[in-house]
Amino acid sequence: MSKKITLIAIITLFALTILYFTGAFNRDVVTAQRFVNLQQGDNAHEGFRRAHAKGICLAGSFESTGELAKYSQAKVFDLGATPFVGRFSIAGNNPTAPDLKAPVRSLAFSITTDDNQEWRVAMNTPPVMAVATPDAFFKQLQALSPDPVTKKRSPEKIKAFFAAHPESAAFNNWKASYTPTNSFATEQYHSINAFYLVDKNDEKHAVRWIAKPQLSDENIQPLNNDSPDALQLQLKDQVAQSSVKFDMLFSFATEEDDENNPTVLWPQSRKTINAGTLVISRLQAQEGGVCENMNFDPLVLPTGIEPSADPILRARGAAYAESFRRRAKEVLLNN
């Protein structure tokens, strides 16, 4: 009799272990799935990204100055040009949202060097995160989400969230002083999270980078404020005139900087190196375009660049993968 009980006990324990790992007892944990559920809202736009759904594909070349080569083994930083593909996008889950209503703009790209090493980059207009952990970020998105019934944001909820998260000071300061530019081509985009450059002696250097526009609003094609696709149309006119260029500026952390905390700005006085210029010379609609089916997971890195332990950066891979998985399945089933 006792042997039967032993048998049942072991089998039950084993079954519970399996259920545990499938997430059956995971209801209160913020998972990649819950994150993407929140981002996509009640009505997912099938076949589109769950975040930054609206965008335009781009292509061009990265012209390296070679100045970063001594800090990183990655071949992309050797002197010379490497072609890349990428995407400008706006925040939000709606692929038809008006361009000028979005609070955040993004520049993503992917460069593969001839040694078959890929560097995927996803940059945004804010230089810092409001919070430092995926849990807090989840709560931030919850606070910012419109009420499901009234479809309106609750200012009290938003205020309460930021009051409870004083680490959001740098983000809120940036937000208060930020004025959107008249073009994707004149924004400054930030890596936000820190990464390590790994040199030939395996020494690590913590860096953040920005894509700094060479154009400014004074010398670009006019913007049609009435069009929902204002930024995309402006960009098309712009690229038809001349290629759009960004300097890739890398700033190096000192001992005073915590590379694992994305809520704090590093002082402007930090050593900065111009790694090269992104030259965007071609555009393509995202439907059917080269960037449509890409996943700009910033954790896909070449030898010579490594992720920091920043919890937000580390969480991006799983969340991007879940979003990519959902739209990939929809693309397969709808075709």
Binding site: K3, K4, T6, L7, I10, I11, F14, A15, T17, I18, F21, T22, G23, N26, V29, V30, T31, A32, Q33, F35, T112, N116, E118, P134, N293, N295, L299, V300, P307, A309, P311, R314, A315, G317, A318, A319, A321, E322, F324, R325, A328, K329, V331, L332, N335
Partner: protein
């Protein structure tokens, strides 16, 4: 007639080594697709490396299976149970082979590399394609659940034989001399 009562030492070694790797891989895989924790990045690298190891081991195991005879089930096992055991075994072998291959293919289809502990990198099997990716990504997930089901049946049956029937079926896969 097949009269051997024990698996060969090589079969026993590879069985338990793979049991350890497979269960760890399944549990890690299920965890890492949900978790937003910082260890996720390293977990994926380990998952890929151990996946390659599992693919190498299952190849060795199949060769081993041809070289060494396996003990038959005792005559006392009812026909229906023997059939269930056979089907579970087919399912286990199919999962062992399809799991790493579907993983390799899904990574290839998103142009992600699969490295074996940084020692070597597997070649890309297919060109980048979102539909190929999703086919193998979904297959990889579904096979994982089927695999867990087969393992659950396999473990339950082995314990039943070991604890209740005590007919030597469990002992045939345990190290040491047979009773």
């Amino acid at each position: 007639m097949n009269t051997i009562t024990k698996y060969s030492a090589s079969s026993i070694l590879i069985h338990w080594a793979m049991a350890l790797i497979i269960l760890s891989m399944l549990f890690l895989g299920l965890s890492m697709v949900q978790s937003l924790a910082v260890w996720q990045v390293e977990a994926i690298q380990l998952h890929k490396s151990f996946g390659v190891l599992a693919l190498i081991l299952v190849t060795i195991r199949l060769i081993n299976k041809v070289l060494y005879k396996s003990p038959a089930l005792p005559q006392s096992v009812p026909k229906a149970q023997a059939l269930a055991a056979h089907l579970t075994q087919v399912g286990l072998y199919a999962s062992m082979i399809l799991m790493p291959i579907s993983g390799w293919l899904m990574q290839s289809a998103d142009e992600r590399s699969v490295s074996f502990f940084g020692i070597f990198t597997l070649p890309n099997l297919v060109s980048k394609n979102i539909e190929t990716y999703t086919f193998f990504r979904e297959a990889h997930g579904l096979i994982a659940y089927a695999f867990l089901l087969f393992i659950f049946m396999h473990v339950s049956a082995a314990l039943y034989h070991g604890l209740i029937k005590q007919d030597g079926v469990l002992g045939s896969m345990l190290p040491g001399k047979h009773k």
